[in-house]
Structures are given as C-alpha cells and as structure tokens.
C-alpha cells in the first residue's frame, strides 16, 4: 500500500491509498480526485491526467518517456516537474508521494 497526496490548485489535499501495480491515474480515479480527467483511460493518448510531481519526489518517479513527453505537448502550463500520471506505476517506494493537480486540464 502506498499513500499518495494530491494537492488541488486551491491548496486542499486528499490522501489516496494505492495498491502497487496500478497506475497513479487509476488510484486517483478510483478515489475521485478532482481534476484527473483521464479521458483516454490511461493509453497516454489524451494528456488529461497531467500532474506536477513535488520536487522532492522527482527522482523516485523518474522522467517522462519519449512518448509521454510527446503527449505532454497537448497539456497546458507544462513545467519541468510535469508528468502524465497514467504513466506512473505505483510501487512501494512511492509511499508518501506528493502530486499537484494543475488548474485546468483543458
């Protein structure tokens, strides 16, 4: 079990418990985290599951793969810490992960 904290643009926080093996997007959808639209259901084809990884966690989540980097072109306000959270697999190492949800996905 890994605990993941989502911080909304207004500062409100939601802690979600995720089983290793699912993607962070799936954990967010299961727990109805607002702002994670995930229109394509995790196929890296929509860029509506965009999040900002807390700087302290960037090393553990790793960098976006080239396909994800291409898809990020369709997201707004992309920053160095941007990821598409359907491409982050939950592992026990990510227990405590902190993510910020952007103002708007589209």
């Amino acid at each position: 079990m890994a605990k993941i904290t989502f911080i909304q643009p207004d500062g409100s926080q939601q802690v979600v418990e995720a089983n290793p093996g699912v993607t962070v997007m799936e954990a967010a959808r299961l727990n109805r985290v607002p702002g994670i639209e995930a229109e394509c259901g995790g196929a890296c084809a929509c860029a509506t599951c965009h999040v900002y990884v807390d700087p302290g966690w960037a090393e553990k989540t790793g960098k976006a793969a080239p396909m994800e980097e291409d898809m990020l072109d369709f997201a707004f306000d992309v920053r160095p810490e941007s990821r598409l959270c359907c491409q982050i697999k939950v592992v026990s190492d990510l227990d405590g992960l902190i993510l910020r949800v952007p103002g708007k996905q589209f």
Binding site: E39, A47, D73, F74, F76, V78, F106
Partner: protein, 350 residues
Amino acid sequence: MTVNQFANGASAPIETDCVIIGAGPVGLFAVFELGLVDIKAHVVDILGKPGGQCSELYPEKPIYDIPALPVVTGQELTDRLMEQIKPFGATFHLGERIDSLKRLPDLRFQLETDAGKTFITKTVVVAAGGGSFTPKRPPLAGIEAYEGKSVFYSIRRMEEFRSHDVLIVGGGDSALDWTLNLQPIANSVTLLHRRDEFRGAPHSVEQMRALVADGKVALKIGQVTALEGQDGQLSGVTIQTGAATEQLKIDRMMPFFGLTMKLGPIANWGINLEENLIKVDTATFETNEPGIYAVGDINTYPGKLKLILSGFHEVALMAQAAQKLVTPGKKVIFQYTTSSSSLQKKLGVK
C-alpha cells in the same frame, strides 16, 4: 457538373432513408447491418477520417477483444471495417458536424451540418461515441471572447490571415503545416512551442527550421500566459520563455493542443439524456424519439459496457428495428450471410 442550388446558395437537401451521426467503429458497422436490410446510409463525422476514437486516439495501439481477431490496432480495425462495408455504398460526409435535428410534419427528420448541408431522412442513427471531437481550448483567461474572431482552432479561409501577425502554438503537424502555409501570406508568423523538439513530419520540421534560419519565421520556446486585446480582437500576448516573460505583438492566434470529445449539439435535440448519454430500449436501440436510434459509446441501458463488441451487437438489432420503419409491411426473414444467396448478392460475393 449538376446544378443543385437553392436561390440562397445552399445546396438542395439530400433525401435518404438513414443518416448515421459518427463514423467510429460502431457507426461504420451500422452501415453493414443496415445494408443487409437494404437501407443505404449517409455517414457524417466532424473528423476528417473514419474510425472515431480508434483512428484518432489510438491508431497504433493493440485491441485484444475483437472476436476472432486476437490482436488488431485501432487503425487496422478501421481499415478492415471500411473494406467490409464497401459493398453497401454509404456516402461519407467527413469534416462536418451535425448541428441541428428537427422532426418534419411528415414525421421524417431534417438535419443540418455546420457546413450548411441539409439531410431529410426517415431514420437517424446516433453513433456519436463520446461526442464530437473538438479542439482543446487553452485555459487562458478571456479566450472565449476571441474565438472565431482572432483566435482560431482550424482554418476555413486562409484570407482571414493575410497581412496579419500570426502566432501559432504547438509542436505537431497542424502547427507546422499552418506555419508553412501561412508564412507566405501573413505579415509575420511566430511559432511557439514548449520545447525545441517537434513531433511533426520530419520534412515539415526541416522546412520550418529553414524558414527560421532565413528569418522568415520566428521560433520561440515557451508558453502563452495571457492575452491582450479588445472586443474579440487580439493585440498581443504575454509568453513565458524559461524564467523570462515577453510581450508579443500579434493579432491572430492558432492554438493546437489536440482534440477532446464534447457532447456538443446532441444535447439540444430533445432526446432523453442521462448524464450525457442517450437512454435506449435494448430490443431496438431506439431513443424516446421513434425513428432515432443510439448505438455505441453514446447510449446507456442497464448493464451497458462501452466496448466495440457491444456496439456491434447493438447495430444488428437496431437495423432490424429501422427496417420496419423504413419499409413497413415488408416481410423480414432471418438469414445468415453464409447461406443466403440474397444477402450474398448484396455483399457482392455472388
């Protein structure tokens, strides 16, 4: 050339038995099932190509749950459906959106597209999936006021851009193509992208780079953060490039951030909806409006699954119901394509 014009310039209505709204996999297979019961269809889709989600969102990804095809990509499935429905000679109207639908006194329906085309039809099959594919709108304050006046997501008339200072935002083929196409006629073209890497066709990237090297196109790496202007007319934008911000004087902007599915005009047609989905009777896939059917991802009923497989089943039953309405009194006999010579004749294999 046939002269087929009304006095007001709009073309004469197309009269038909059936209009299918949406050329996704389910709309395409509807052509097949309707064809078997002698209903010829017109198919309309806002996308410039058939296949719906399969060809737009995941052309190269594998699908594993199409019966008898252990694996097939979204594009392959589309291509195979197009081949399978060929004998039925459906007419495709791509790049057009059905905007309005109303019932006529003779109980048929009148449909209009955003390009001014009119259909008069006995039946309507709504195979609209998750809704029409619409360009994503950048979340910039006040952008709505500029849309269609100085902010455009597609180009119907190049002349709109002649002698203007144009900002194109994005890094894919649309952004590159319009950079190349507008450069000769615009006063200036600036291409803005979040990174110095472009997904577009290598040839277009090369051409764009050459124009930048010649000083004919300005390339900026960054993002738009604010719009300036009045009464729908842009006068400039603020962009962020790395840590710095910069003002750009431009009066036309084209953002290219891909497409999203929006229910769109369907909500205004008097069809019963439940959370943006159309309620149907599972024996006929008819909506609350007799003669209007809904199949595929757009419909809902107890136990509904948004699967291509389920959509295929739905169109088979729908076609039987539509036939009773289109050719009332005609005796329907259940037949197999394997053994029925009349079905094989329709398929062009006999």
